[in-house]
Symmetry: C2
Subunit: 262 residues, 2 copies
């Protein structure tokens, strides 16, 4: 009972209207939280997200309400500071959602602050089950961290306390496992497209590779020409790739690394 009344009492302002802001707002809203305002410098974007979560759209940062409890900055890293500088009220909790930005970015401006980093890739038109999204939290004090934990624990089944240094390392790992992984798919598609082969033929393979690492250590299941030091096949592959192409460079760099790491 206490929890649900807390949720109702707590007023949240969402600063940002991009993918993270949209998914996070919806998850909070669907769990009974009251998001009173959405800020975006683009009025239309503020309006679009506001409508979904019964909030008020704001497009001038100086006009955001001082009558809220938690302010969540879900904007690009380099904008967090610029926006924080323009907010002068205190005794509130200010959070950002970035993987690579230190919590200390807020130190100069606020007394209570922290981080709420959802470790997931969000696209506007894809539904995400937030219960399964790991959320890494950090607070400027134990009391603040407790409030962040309680906030986040309602929307995710996997809340982790992780400090700024560790979070940066985790974000770097995520770049390898998500951004770079997606780029390999782009290159694989470029290669199949070049011969008018249907890229979807690769999907069962991709799914199985991903399914495997749920139970196996990836280093122990590495296969392919580089792992078995099959020079003949690697040379044939390099011949197929254009000189100075990024595919060739990546092929060499990863094959070298596989040979070294397996």
């Amino acid at each position: 009972m206490k929890n649900s009344s807390n949720k109702k009492a707590l007023k949240i302002v969402m600063i940002g209207s991009g993918n993270v802001a949209t998914h996070l707002s919806s998850a909070l809203f669907n769990n009974g939280y009251n998001i009173v305002e959405v800020y975006s410098r683009t009025k239309k974007n503020a309006e679009t997200l506001s409508k979904k979560i019964a909030a008020k759209p704001i497009s001038d940062i100086k006009k955001i309400t001082s009558d809220a409890d938690i302010y969540i900055f879900a904007v690009n890293d380099d904008v967090v500071k610029t926006l924080a500088e323009k907010i002068f009220f205190q005794n509130k909790i200010f959070l950002h959602t970035s993987g690579s930005l230190s919590m200390a970015v807020f130190k100069k401006y606020f007394q209570q602050y922290g981080v709420l980093y959802p470790l997931q890739t969000f696209s506007k038109n894809r539904k995400i089950d937030f219960k399964k999204v790991p959320i890494c939290i950090e607070g400027s004090s134990k009391a603040t961290e407790k409030i962040i934990f309680e906030l986040v624990n309602k929307i995710s089944g996997n809340v982790q306390k992780i400090n700024s240094e560790k979070r940066k390392v985790l974000h770097l790992a995520a770049v390898f496992a998500n951004n770079f992984q997606n780029h390999l798919y782009t290159l694989a598609k470029k290669i199949t497209d070049s011969e008018k082969i249907n890229f979807s033929l690769l999907l069962p393979l991709i799914e199985e590779t991903t399914a495997k690492i749920k139970t196996e250590n990836p280093i122990k299941i590495q296969t392919g020409p580089a792992a078995r030091k099959d020079k003949k096949t690697m040379e044939a592959h390099l011949k197929m790739l254009k000189n100075n192409s990024s595919e060739k460079e990546i092929y060499k760099a990863i094959s070298k690394s596989i040979a070294k790491n397996t």
Copy 2:
């Protein structure tokens, strides 16, 4: 009725006892095919697989029966030729299962031959639903190709006729999408391990990245520092990676390629 009697009549010899041989043999056996012999130069391996599929183990290639219809070479690329040289009987169909080996490897030795390339990564202890594995086939003649198609069509719901040149390209794409993808997971794990962060935190992200490309073109959903040309974050990441480490080299090569391709 004709089909099932065909299946019973057809005698198959499996040459090889590795992951592909094991999974392919089991799929054939479970669909009613008669695998009469399994060859492996290592007697114990021939015996292990033979037991599973009620076949006879053979460890001397010269002793394999001439009384079969189809001989499947599921061995390393560089062994296919060496073994084919030692088989002197004709009027049979000889197939290999390699992605990168041309069908023509058999031309010198046999009259009827072809390829059956299952586009999947196989591990001994993981079950694979063969119905979902795309199988690329090629035959030395239309008649041979028809026989291969009928053989394979019983075990897979996705049979594709693809010639040797295209198959090589597909195999190269598979190296990017499977072998290289798995290595990125290895590097991501190395990074999280270095800070004693649980690698499993990355799993929901990895799964979502993989799920996305079922419906989206990967080039259109690329995110991350390289895609948004966020030099500050990229420099911070490069600082975190050791000089001359393969992680650093791969980070640079892929980031460069993302900037070029998005």
